[in-house]
Amino acid sequence: MLLRHPEWWAWCLSLLIWLLLMSNAVIPQHEMNVIYCMPGATIVHSHSASFISGMLPWMVMIVAMMFPLLTEPVRHVAFSIRRADRLTGILLFLLGYTLTWTAAGVVFMWLLSFLDTQNAFVQSSGFFLAAILIWLPGRPERMIKCSQTMPIRIYGWRLYRDSMNFGLQMGLACLNVCWAVMAALMLSRHNLALMFIATVILIYERYLLKHTNKLPGYAWGILGLTLFIIEICG
């Protein structure tokens, strides 16, 4: 079946991460649970956490939330190259993709250090921003870039170069569309429930809605408002 559905590699990695996240949420373990928690639980988030432990939630979030959106590009890589090289090509693509988001994560982390993430408005502002961006001009044009392709060579080092390069390009395209939502989740301290809801919205938008549809804007707005109210009342 993987011959016909190479995109399942990305989906499986994402599912694996979600299973780990869910199991960590239910079974307390010190490192992950101080970062991932259910709404209403005591939140411990240290601004003095090391760079790696600060980037870890971000990387996990990328794999869990972004990988399911990569069906088209993963299939493009997989079917552009020989079957024997398929896994290599896909992994290099995912690596290139993740590197782009990693760079973005570093920037976001640095910016986060200037904000008071205990503040209810700050926590929910990311979703409000994501909602506003839906209505600003240029978003459909940015979204359609998620369907871009490029030639992938099938021989030698060029195969590796093109697979990773395509991953980098797709990472940039995705970043251009989804950065606000991911930043919103960082601001809301990687709340697991919010992550799940956001993932569902992103998947629905990616595969079932036209690029001009404004429905996700309402969803982000409602999410932001809900979070704001919860934080105010909590």
Binding site: L3, R82, E141, P151, Y207
Partner: protein, 455 residues
């Protein structure tokens, strides 16, 4: 119920084209903001305000309205056929109403141009009503056209394609095109879209040569009427069926009816021409689809695999270009990826031209495989033609496409089987020759990758 007739078989004294011409004149007088105007209908297919034909057309609809209704044509997609069927149906309704308002008959139907009719020696010529007189007094005339299509470009071999859906990589190329979301410029052009659809556009040229202007040419509608008819002909051949996925059936598109009101139509509603709006049939084509018998088609369960590909871009110019495809993992390893001698019957094989980008309206390029230097009997080596219809738009990032170009796939299964028997067959490589039919002019074309896919 309307019957769409062959334009070359309209009886003497028939007034179909006369009324069509009057309606075109009337529709051209309407403001561009009117959904029933010629310009509005044309822009629904394609539009670019920078092109001369689109200048000085007066006020335009709002950007929101343009985003919803204009530049909606589906290409390189399984929506190519249903979208154009809907487009034609509403256009026909608008024209028919215009004709009634002008005092004409109530049963006007759009005729089709069957350029593949080999019983008609004039079939490949644009019908005379569209070419004479060749000036602006004739509302069916447009400048810049080539009036006759060479025989090789009206081939109906696309009808031999069994699956409706397919991209020639994950599965054999489909008659209707690959499964896609909304695709204005699209990627891989399906079998019927590639030939004869794209090539007829390219050969006629003028406004027809560019999807951003094509629907402004009155002959466009007869051409697409024929393409729509061929969809029914294909279904009637048996062992064929339309997609059954909800993602195709339930996908909606936006149009305007004969009163200019916004309407929606989905693909489910256009499967039977008798159910499309007031219904229509094609002269000489039974409208009822034969029962599809599962299990009588070939098994296409495994994706095809790439066995050869170029290592760099291929830029085309006004001279023929020969590209060598190595049939090995790498020139140094000399390890054969696939030996065609292993097959007793020609395996399903496609020659792909990927990420084609360019500017302007490039000439059609004929593709030959392993043709001798003296060209020999060219027809024996002919794989197909690349029309590059819409390449500039496909290369331009916009609301409707990412700008990474077009994709053509040529079925070379039979050709490869034949070439293997020839003395110049080489197990290690294939020579692909791309020959333009005219000068490149101001246009440019670059092919990102040429590749060979097989079972």
């Amino acid at each position: 119920m309307k019957e769409r007739k062959d334009v070359y078989k309209l009886p003497a004294g028939d007034t179909t084209l006369e009324w069509y011409a009057k309606a075109v004149t009337k529709m051209r007088e309407l403001p561009t903001t009117d959904p029933r105007s010629w310009n509005y209908q044309g822009a629904m297919h394609g539009f670019n305000p920078n092109l001369p034909i689109w200048r000085n057309i007066g006020p335009l609809p709002s950007p929101a309205e343009q985003a919803q209704f204009w530049k909606q044509c589906q290409h390189g997609s399984w929506f190519f056929l249903p979208w154009h069927r809907m487009y034609l149906a509403y256009f026909e309704e608008i024209v028919a109403q215009t004709i009634v308002d002008l005092g004409g008959p109530a049963d006007w139907a759009l005729p089709y141009w069957n350029y593949s009719d080999n019983t008609n020696p004039n079939a490949r010529k644009i019908p005379p009503a569209f070419t004479q007189p060749a000036n602006n007094t004739n509302s069916l005339w447009m400048p810049g056209r080539t009036n006759t299509i060479p025989a090789m470009y009206v081939s109906l071999r696309a009808l031999d394609t069994l699956p409706f859906t397919g991209d020639g990589q994950t599965s054999p190329l489909g008659f209707g095109g690959p499964q896609t979301p909304f695709e204005h410029s699209g990627e891989t052009h399906g079998a019927l879209e590639s030939l004869p659809h794209d090539v007829v556009h390219g050969i006629i040229g003028g406004a027809m040569g560019d999807p951003r202007t094509a629907a402004l040419d009155p002959i466009f509608w007869l051409h697409h009427c024929n393409i729509d008819r061929l969809w029914q002909v294909w279904l009637n051949m048996g062992n064929r069926k339309n997609p059954t996925k909800a993602s195709w059936l339930d996908f909606e598109f936006d149009f305007h009816d004969k009163d200019g009101n916004a309407v929606k139509m989905d693909c489910r509603e256009v499967q039977d021409t008798r159910q499309v709006l007031s219904g229509y049939t094609y002269e000489g084509v039974p409208p009822a689809v034969p029962h599809f018998e599962a299990g009588t088609t070939r098994d296409f369960s495994l994706p095809l695999e790439v066995v050869a590909a170029t290592n760099k871009d291929v830029e085309l110019d006004s001279t023929p270009k020969v590209v060598r495809l190595p049939l090995s993992i790498s020139p140094r390893k000399k390890q054969k990826v696939r030996s065609f001698e292993a097959f007793t019957a020609p395996p399903t094989t496609f020659l792909h031209f990927e990420n084609i980008t360019g500017t302007g309206v490039p000439p059609i390029h004929d593709v030959y495989v392993n043709i001798p230097e003296d060209d020999g009997d060219k027809e024996s080596y002919y794989a197909g033609s690349l029309a590059f219809f819409g390449v500039e738009e496909a290369s331009t990032p916009s609301l409707h496409q990412p700008g990474t170009g077009q994709h053509y796939a040529l079925d070379v299964s039979e050709l490869m089987g034949k070439l293997r028997t020839l003395p110049n067959w080489k197990e290690d490589e294939l020579d692909i020759k791309l020959e333009p039919i005219r000068e490149m002019g101001d246009a440019s074309v670059k092919i990102g990758r040429i590749s060979l896919y097989t079972e």
